[in-house]
């Protein structure tokens, strides 16, 4: 086993650092590790792209599949792992260099963030259903704590809500896993995929619905996503950036991955996923229209984009799936930017309410300018990456002569423009910016460039991917292939062709 070629590092290293960090309280020098590890993993992930393109890396733990647990690093998983490491590195750097909030300083939040990374990576990498449940709970628990870490009333309320609804999701998913094991005697995803067809149809449906509800709650799909705005509102924006940029994406990937693997009939899977995606998209965008709190508005917008990504994945075509991966990346970039901007604003103003932010653009030109860039990227306006990813998805639908998703996506984008531009307009309102200037401006020192560096890096990446999308084209197409090619996955894991 070579050091550099093992997917297990993506899980083990953050966990190791997280759990061992209380041991080095005395040696502050080692704290740099907390920031260095995600960065190192990001570099490792980037270095692995060429290898994984040849063949997926499979890391078996003790016993070979289908009996033992294994980690499966294919192009799709690698893309997401790289994205997660990037997101964590970025948010960690942002917090490292200037978190004024005491509860986000020091070791504790970093421990939790590293656990979140381990959970997210594990969700994407694992090839075993029960292991998936374990990672779901690891990611969940660290997310609950991160939500509540501010330890005041709204944060605790949000954390409790998240914990309750998240546990319900966990129970549903566990029940689905249990039923699968009882029916097939397998937990390995590839083996389950082969055996699933032999389960009685009614039981198939029950398992599917249980898993769908469990993962649907976690990945914020429409009839199950009512908790999202409250939780996003209650937690710190920098943390929410990770929820929106990392956690949801991991669950969404798991959902699509399982749907592709386990559902024999792609037509049914397509109907289900696309309906859910379309519903999530429209409902969230409409509901966002009347939000007067920035974090809530961003939460709804995040929901809408998740719906769009699911709509594109759910079509189960290579072209839209590649576009969906692209959109997933560009949405992560944009939402990281927007939530970090919210975090920056919250350091200076008391409230992120629309009325309180009137005219903020004239007081904090750079911060609000970054908000505008992020909003433009979310809206899919060129030359930012959001446009290219949407175009990719749309042309995929057009090439397949399916026009209703195109209409839906465009209408949703128009509604989205309705509220984002309302915010932009208010942020630049000429009205006396008294509400903004009165609050905390005087006592906070101006932010250094180090604070803005992560944000500017995000803007640079959005521009790069928007102008030159071909730089990641290969990775996206490989990822889409790896996600959709069920037989290939089963073969690579079990060494036999699927029936």
């Amino acid at each position: 086993m070579e050091f550099s070629a093992s997917p297990i590092w993506f899980i083990a290293l953050p966990m190791l650092a997280a759990f061992s960090s209380p041991l080095w309280v005395r040696w502050r020098v080692l704290d740099q590790l907390l920031l260095g590890i995600p960065l190192g993993l990001l570099l490792l992930a980037l270095g692995l792209f060429a290898t994984v393109q040849q063949a997926p890396l499979i890391e078996t733990i003790v016993i070979a599949p289908p009996l033992g647990i294994h980690l499966h690093l294919d192009s799709a998983a690698l893309l997401l792992v790289a994205l997660f490491c990037f997101a964590v590195t970025l948010v960690a750097a942002f917090l490292w260099h200037g978190a004024t909030e005491t509860h986000l300083r020091g070791r504790q939040p970093f421990v939790l963030i590293l656990l979140l990374l381990a959970g997210g990576n594990g969700l994407v990498l694992t090839g075993d259903l029960f292991n998936l449940y374990v990672f779901l709970e690891i990611a969940g628990i660290s997310a609950y704590v991160l939500t509540a870490v501010r330890d005041d009333r709204p944060a605790l309320a949000a954390g409790l809500k998240y914990l309750i609804i998240g546990s319900v999701a966990g129970v549903f998913f566990l029940l689905a896993v249990v039923l699968i094991y009882l029916q097939t005697g397998q937990l390995n995803m590839a083996a389950v995929a082969q055996a699933f067809a032999e389960i009685p149809p009614a039981m198939q449906g029950l398992i599917a619905v249980l898993a769908l509800i469990g993962l649907g709650i976690k990945s914020e799909l429409f009839p199950f996503n009512f908790w999202v705005p409250d939780v996003y509102r209650g937690s710190d924006p920098a943390i929410t950036a990770l929820f929106s940029g990392l956690l949801v994406k991991a669950f969404l990937f798991v959902l699509v991955h399982l749907a592709v693997l386990i559902w024999i009939d792609p037509e049914i899977a397509r109907i289900w996923l696309m309906t859910l995606g379309a519903l999530t998209l429209m409902v969230a965008e409409l509901a966002a229209l009347r939000q007067d709190e920035m974090r809530r508005m961003l939460a709804y917008s995040s929901l809408g984009q998740i719906g769009l990504i699911l709509l594109a994945f759910g079509f189960l075509h290579e072209s839209t799936a590649a576009g969906a991966f692209f959109h997933l990346i560009s949405h992560t970039l944009a939402k990281l930017l927007l939530f970090l901007v919210a975090a920056l604003l919250l350091r200076r103003v008391l409230s992120l309410h629309l009325d309180a932010l009137t005219g903020a653009g004239r007081v904090y030109p750079l911060t609000v300018g970054l908000f505008v860039v992020g909003a433009l990227c979310i809206l899919g306006l060129p030359p930012l990456s959001g446009f290219m990813s949407k175009l990719w998805i749309l042309q995929g639908f057009a090439a397949a002569q399916t026009f209703w998703p195109i209409a839906l996506i465009l209408v949703a984008a128009l509604i989205e423009a309705g509220y984002y531009f309302r915010w932009i307009r208010v942020l630049y309102a000429p009205a006396a910016a008294s509400a903004v200037t009165d609050s905390k401006t005087s006592k906070t020192a101006p932010e250094s460039w180090a604070t803005y560096a992560p944000l500017l890096l995000l803007v640079g990446l959005m521009l790069l991917l928007g102008i030159a999308p071909f730089v990641i084209e290969g990775a996206l197409v490989d990822a889409a292939r790896a996600l959709l090619d069920r037989d290939l996955l089963i073969q690579s894991v079990l060494g036999v062709a699927a029936q």
Binding site: A148, K161, V168, V171, Y181, L187, D292, S351
Partner: protein
């Protein structure tokens, strides 16, 4: 009487009973989750639901007469043993469930200290 016991000992009957029992437990948990307002009761209900799932798994994965899957004096072959996987899994699930429960309770206590309320409806009132 013995016949009845024998009948009860048949795997299908036993599994049926376990199924009914754990589903009842699950529904009780669900009722508590939906009907009760105190945060601790909600968390207890969650624990109950998880317990029901665990029970279901363990019960349905074994048949009476099987022994624990451990080799020891006199047991030198893997025959007549229960499937070890569910037990291992359920142990993990119990640990996870306990961790979530502990976290939930501690959050609830913190919340109660700050707001003097342990009502789940009060959580919904958190406004902007």
């Amino acid at each position: 009487m013995l016949e009845l016991l024998d009948w009860l000992d048949r795997p299908s009957v036993l599994h049926g009973l376990h199924l009914v029992g754990s589903l009842t437990l699950f529904v009780i948990g669900l009722y508590g989750l939906l009907g009760k307002r105190h945060l601790l009761k909600i968390l207890m209900s969650l624990a109950l639901m998880e317990l029901a799932v665990n029970l279901l798994f363990i019960a349905l994965a074994t048949t009476s007469g099987e022994t624990a899957p451990i080799l020891s004096d006199g047991l030198t072959a893997f025959t007549g043993m229960a499937d070890p996987v569910p037990q291992a899994l359920i142990l993990t699930a119990i640990v996870i469930g306990m961790a979530v429960l502990a976290l939930g309770v501690s959050l609830a206590i913190r919340y109660h200290r700050l707001s003097a309320s342990a009502d789940i409806r009060a959580l919904a009132d958190a406004q902007d």
